[in-house]
Symmetry: C2
Subunit: 374 residues, 2 copies
């Protein structure tokens, strides 16, 4: 196996596939990229237990030759080392020659690296062929869907199903839901397809994938309960595992009518929360929101540091006097995810879950459970 | 005690004094700032076992009133909390009121913090009055002196004297020396004073202090073997402890004549070292430099990763063939400290300490001990 390749295109493929390389992997072979030159081009494959990414460098890009003097083959090379070597080389083109299936000589005429490598047959078999229900949608819509929902998933492994982003499609609507049981985020988007499925993928993988779309306009998504979910965009294919188990029924827990509504400026609320949270302990910042028609206050009390009170300047509150305490990080995440200048916080009662939403956009709902305090 | 103060000026003083606040301090009182309002202005004092910093906000700055409605007094307030509160407040002016020596009310009309505080008498006595030989010099010259020498000090506490920056003044010359016993850096600068002293201060403190000079043009330095070294500049006074013990005699170990000289472009050498070091193990990157009149090569070998060879493009080498191995970080630090486009690496023999220097500037010397390899 050998080839001469445009450095930037090679580096781009290594960087994409590198998102699947875990810093520490129990299976040593997965510290490597599998690099394969075939008639399709140069394929760079990286994988860990949750996600596999394959990125292809084609022989020609528009009218430009990107790979030349190629002899087909396949080899495993340490992913971190190869990425660093290619990134730091100064030439615009470099060659990679595999000697005796043991050494990959990487050379740009100035620098010459002889990298230890391993036989491609030692790499696990990974199937990236689409198999299941398939639809496509704009990358921007998929990225937005993930950004406004996945953050609310749990990061603790005690209940694995809560680390998932739940994706459901029916009647031309794709719904993404994430919850860690103390909060929930849901976003819906219309799709031009009548596919019907329910699937749970790791929420952090969904976030990683949505950041790889850059440049691509459309993503093709294939869902299979058995083989996982496949995202195909540009020259890249990403496969993620499915989290087994039934996702909690969440539709009925979102209240539809409210007794109290607070309309505020998002930026002002975030700044005020940021200030009062200075006094919180490191773990969790509990903020108390006290509302009347005339005054809305945020309060934090800390035995160690003292107390803080912040009065909002711009607000409209409808309802009787209400005091609600909550984890400030949950409200901050929810307000940020709405991406709206103004937000509404809607309550049923002091100890009932409340909703943070954008009155102009009912495709997003953020639900938060209050905390008992004082 | 109370005062109303310009937010930016208060924050600047808190930020300066905050450089002396250690993240974890065995003596709990030193997690606080000592804040004192007197006829001199508002004094913010921070301290740890190595360094004390006092910064003063004056009542008037040019023709502008910076502090008003002041009632003198002194109090201790948690440094991290007070800095964060003042940094995040939105008003241009804020007031601080001490209630019953127990609560400091910090208010800008919008946010209101009640911070726990402690009696000023619980703070240790710290003497910042100048006492010893005194001279002054431009801040830029002092910062340059530190930058080109202090990095070579040891960061390990086994031999405390090697963590010092040694400062010696005699005959109108100030010399700074740092060594961790495997490398040494020395810088000299002329001063307009006939003071004579030898003193050792913590090298990392010297680096911190030299970064605080911004804006100030002259620093007044007072050296006392007993009370430490005092740096006075702008509205700030910094006192550092002295490291006791005799500094190693280093003058005689710097060779003056050489059998081999390699002239190279600093940028090209740094880039090449950066590339070949990719293959090194995490701890220490050993690079071998092989020189003849026709070819200069850097080589790294790693059992785990393979090997790298890099040929320099621009160089001039005088002498017989020579191979020298060294810790690449030492050469990188030395080349960077020279701040010169071209550098000369001068050798006596394969296993003798070698010198990295700038032919146009003999005020800096960087000495490095080679390593045995292969």
């Amino acid at each position: 196996m050998r080839f001469t390749i445009d450095k930037e295109q090679f580096l781009k493929a290594l960087t994409y596939a590198g998102h699947a390389i875990a810093p520490k992997n129990p299976y040593a072979m997965l510290a490597n990229f599998k690099i394969t030159l075939s008639e399709k081009g140069l394929e760079v494959l990286g994988s860990n237990s949750e996600i596999t990414i394959r990125s292809i460098v084609p022989y020609m890009l528009k009218d430009r030759e990107v790979i030349r003097q190629g002899i087909p083959g396949s080899i495993l090379i340490n992913a971190r080392v190869l990425s660093e070597v290619v990134r730091k080389m100064e030439g615009g083109e470099l060659s990679l020659d595999v000697i005796d299936n043991a050494i990959a000589k990487v050379d740009d005429g100035r620098s010459s690296f002889r990298l230890n490598c391993a036989n491609a047959e030692e790499y696990p078999d990974i199937d990236l062929e689409p198999d299941g229900v398939t639809f496509d949608m704009p990358c921007a819509a998929m990225a937005g869907l993930v950004e406004q929902s996945a953050f609310a998933a749990s990061t603790k492994e005690q209940r694995p199903i809560l680390t998932a982003l739940n994706l459901e499609a029916a009647d031309g609507i794709l719904t993404a839901t994430a919850t860690d049981s103390a909060r929930l985020a849901r976003k819906t988007v219309a799709i031009e397809s009548e596919v019907k499925f329910r699937v749970n993928i790791p929420a952090r993988v969904a976030i990683d994938v949505s950041k790889l779309f850059e440049g691509a306009s459309t993503v093709e998504i294939t869902v299979s309960e058995k083989k996982g979910v496949l995202f195909r965009f540009g020259q890249t294919v990403v496969s993620t595992r499915v989290i087994p188990g039934d996702y909690p029924q969440t539709k009925s827990i979102i209240p539809q009518t409210f007794n109290y509504v607070l309309d505020v400026n998002a930026r002002e609320l975030l700044n005020a929360m940021d200030r009062v949270s200075i006094l919180s302990s490191d773990k969790e910042s509990v903020v108390r929101l006290s509302m009347t028609e005339d005054r809305v206050e945020l309060t934090v009390r800390s035995d160690a540091n003292g107390s803080a009170v912040e009065a909002l300047q711009t607000f409209q509150f409808t309802g009787e006097r209400l005091d609600v305490s909550f984890n400030s990080a949950f409200v901050v995440d929810a307000v940020k995810a709405l991406k709206s200048e103004d937000v509404s916080v809607c309550f049923l009662a002091e100890m009932k879950p409340f909703v943070v939403k954008n009155k102009q956009d009912d495709s997003v709902v953020e639900l938060i459970t209050p905390m008992r305090t004082y």
